[in-house]
Symmetry: C2
Subunit: 201 residues, 2 copies
């Protein structure tokens, strides 16, 4: 049975983007800092070459993320990223939660499915993923999936930085206390700590 | 040279107390959950006996905390805790940041010093601690010490739970991005992960 796994880079103080996010500032001021572990030395340049430099634990985590069998994200994650050119990795199906239909530039991509119902999206993504995991990505989708009990696991890349301000991963959850089971802790280069939890029911 | 070290238990979503904190609900609703690692099986009962049951990593961390040479806290931490009976551990000096003087019930304790200036409190605490660390404890004092560059290290006991609501550790920092250096990661029983960072200047 497939599991939904949230993969997110987060500062120690809980932020997934810096302040002043906008169309031309997708990660907010200084938000790049959260992703340096995955793209060492890229600094806005060649991300593919940076990924090639990944070694050890950070390589392992990146490869796990790229071995998932489907992607579920919100349009606020998908559209600013140019829809990943229609292929997040390996052509796996991508389910984008949105009240609207796909924009014209994304409507023709066969792997991309705009859906309005998170529960249906998760069901379809798990079906498509088979025995692989479903990659869940994005702040608002994480909050909705947690709130509605549709998130099975969390893989938090905890980055050694305090942002002080920005957008938080865990906000507006509106839940009672939710217990987690720690599955794995891995220390990556650059001080990033990869924390894997299962959400207990 | 002594270092100031913030020791705090925090939920994965960043809370150090549950919602509805009050005089008779010091940790907020469900806030006890954050401290179970240090007091296994106490459940509101005999905390001394619970501490005796600590083993392994959790024992190590607890012992480190109790080997510090001075304590700096806010009155919002000190007073609801009954001032720890005037002795947090081993009679080390306790500096309580407050605009007011000590309440009558605490005024006679020789180890307790009410001070109004955080910088002076840290300086005096470091002097008193000698080559030991200074234990910093409490949410608002953590925020003030971080903001004013007086915090040297953080030891976060990351508890595998989502609170959804309550009081956050990292809030109102009003800082620019602050880089940390990961010093140590230890996995304790009960799923608590002890993360030690140095604050870089």
């Amino acid at each position: 049975m497939s599991s939904t796994v949230l993969y997110m880079s987060m500062s120690l103080d809980g932020f997934i983007a810096g302040p002043n996010e906008g169309p031309d500032n997708g990660l907010g001021d200084g938000g790049d800092r959260l992703h340096e572990w995955a793209f060492p030395g890229a600094e806005g340049g060649d991300f593919d070459a940076a990924v090639e430099r990944l070694r050890g634990v950070n390589r392992q985590i990146y490869d796990e993320m790229m071995s998932t069998g489907a992607v579920v994200a919100g349009r606020g994650t998908f559209e600013p990223a140019g829809g990943w050119g229609g292929d997040h990795h390996d052509g796996v199906p991508i389910f984008i939660l949105s009240r609207n239909s796909a924009p014209a530039w994304a409507a023709g991509w066969p792997a991309v499915h705009y859906v309005s119902d998170l529960e249906a999206a998760v069901r379809d993504a798990k079906h498509a993923a088979g025995d692989k995991s479903v990659l869940v990505h994005g702040g608002s989708i994480a909050q909705r999936a947690l709130t509605s009990g549709l998130l099975d696991e969390l893989e938090i890349h905890l980055v050694p930085v305090l942002f002080g301000d920005g957008r938080r991963l865990f906000e507006h959850l509106g839940i009672e206390q939710r217990q987690l089971e720690r599955i794995r802790v891995l220390e990556g280069d650059g001080g990033v700590t990869h924390l894997h939890y299962r959400v207990l029911r």
